[in-house]
Symmetry: C2
Subunit: 353 residues, 2 copies
């Protein structure tokens, strides 16, 4: 009997070793995809007039062409890319919305080359829609100051390092950057990550919100936005505007919400909402403030007995997450928490018997 | 016997009718996908200094924050998105490169909602890589005039309508736009199409070329760029820079090529190259000139007995194509011509017996 147990134990150890040595990707079965595509939604025609015609060469040393900046243009649209599964296991499409100064590319591979949340949730059986908000990425951007009233801002590496809580101190010298002890951010890929940065305007929120509302209005059979940072407030506002089209919200470190003292939150009283927060928030004055504001919104919903869930990762023993949770080294671990919550909310199809 | 033939004929007619009435999408089998992802390639760190700090509110009526535009930034990178099949039938990945003032989104659904060339070639068995060139879409763009020396230009609807040979006369009044007789462009979706427009710089070609070269350098096992318009010259230059990594080039209405009188084209003498041209080129002075220039490049290669193929669609009876061939109503018909040519070049795996 003892030998038998040892044999079983040895067998399990060998199995475990084999599983551990086989690359994860090799073990993944092929995804059955119905369709991949993309489209634009929202926006409208704007007319520019009275601007001076300029002369430009379109190739180095090439002939000079006159360029008339006047005329009709589209502005305020957003871009959507979808991957639809042949047999989705989720009841509704999962919509991934990026944060400030980024585009939808942020949900694909992590900067250090691992699979991002787009693939994670496809493998879990969700149709996944990744969008670029107005002015970001493939959504394109409109002329300023004629259409966007202000000029854009660009996020420096310092702002990304410190603002995203990768570490307390950035340095232009890569060897002198200080990360938080035990950070989950793949710091070796930090410079690669900053290639994702997209300029943003601070005056375009109403245009962005309008496009997100139009986008959500198209999901008449329901959707589940999973959103990051700046997109938190956009998603909650879109849910208020088209409540029946939103079946749940996953808010990854939202930087804002509607003001609970000035907003009627009653329509959200039965909307499942999940809030997830990383580590070292107390070391960042701005994130301490954002977190406290979002907490007020959460408490107001809690008071209504709304199905809201607040997850503080360090409090449950998961330490070191930056603001960029979905690209941190434990991104799959956190994605699993999100997936378990979605399952618990009844958002997956019942398993076939 | 006669009855027998009629029966067979009736059967075929019924089959044909059924095939015709079943929506094409419903008939398509699921795609077996190994992986979907994205990444950035090329670019480098740039340092900005001496710019004045500005004050901005990040939300309407919100607190004023100081924004320091100085520091380190990444610039000159491009963005790549890939769909890898579980069992590709093509020997090499197919790389789709967009033209001027557009991004990779142009290869997805057509503006009137049909499947674009990304899906067409996935269904044909190619791993498909769609990129956004430097400064376009998710590749992001760098501050001007500090990094990009000039200011960007925006394509008006007039420029798109007339420049892309949709018709001889644009009007701001949609009901008064003149299309070429029998145009294949889905004119009802023209305004939707212009939502794809991305500003461009006319001084950034060297930065764009550098990123494309780095991109092609990564395909050490070979690749087949399929490129449109402005990307024609970038692709040929990239092939000259990394000849062994490029197995064929598909050039859809390239707007330029290296000058055959000033360039050693010998490295390209065994590179299969396909040129495809739409209709009404003689009605556009600029396209007449582009076409004539590209023809010189083609003739120079032809003289070397290079495996070059020049397809003038109207000359083979396919009329009405605009410059946007891959979104014209007969886009699948032209894609099939490309696929047949790729097969003929030996670029598909031999069929299993």
């Amino acid at each position: 009997m003892t030998m038998g147990r040892l044999t079983v134990l040895s067998f399990l150890i060998v199995c475990g070793f084999l599983l551990w040595t086989v690359p994860a990707t090799a073990a993944e079965p092929a995804l059955q995809i119905k369709k991949i595509g993309g489209y634009y939604v929202g926006g409208k025609e704007v007319v520019l007039s009275g601007l001076p015609v300029v002369e430009k060469s379109f190739t180095q040393g090439g002939p000079i062409r006159k360029v008339d900046p006047n005329g009709e243009f589209e502005a305020g649209q957003m871009y959507v890319q979808f991957v639809q599964l042949a047999k989705p296991k989720a009841k509704y499409p999962l919509l991934l919305w990026h944060g400030g100064g980024l585009s939808g590319s942020t949900w694909e591979n992590t900067p250090d080359g691992r699979e991002g949340w787009q693939m994670f949730f496809l493998r879990q059986g969700h149709d996944v829609y990744v969008s670029d908000a107005v002015e970001r990425g493939r959504a394109s951007w409109a002329r300023f100051p004629e259409i966007n009233s202000s000029d854009p801002i660009f996020r420096s590496k310092l702002e990304a390092w410190e603002g995203f809580r990768i570490g307390p101190k950035y340095s232009a010298d890569k060897t002198k950057r200080e990360a938080f002890p035990g950070t989950q951010f793949p710091t070796e890929a930090f410079d690669q990550f900053t290639k994702q940065s997209i300029p943003r305007w601070v005056t375009s929120d109403p245009m962005t919100q309008a496009a997100y509302n139009t986008y959500i209005a198209s999901f008449t059979k329901g959707s589940v936005p999973l959103v990051h940072s700046q997109a938190g407030n956009f998603a909650i506002q879109a849910a208020l505007a088209n409540r029946q089209n939103v079946k749940a919200l996953v808010l990854i470190e939202p930087s804002g919400t509607p003001n609970p003292e000035k907003t009627d939150l009653t329509p959200l009283k039965d909307l499942p909402q999940l809030f997830i927060w990383g580590d070292n928030i107390d070391k960042s004055p701005s994130w301490t403030a954002y977190n406290a504001n979002v907490r007020k919104y959460y408490e107001a919903l809690k008071k209504m007995d709304a199905p809201v869930t607040w997850i503080d990762l360090p409090a449950m023993g998961i330490k070191g997450n930056s603001h960029m949770i979905y690209m941190d080294k434990n991104s799959d671990q956190v994605a699993k928490i999100v997936q378990d919550w979605l399952t618990k909310q009844g958002l997956m199809q019942p398993a076939k018997k």
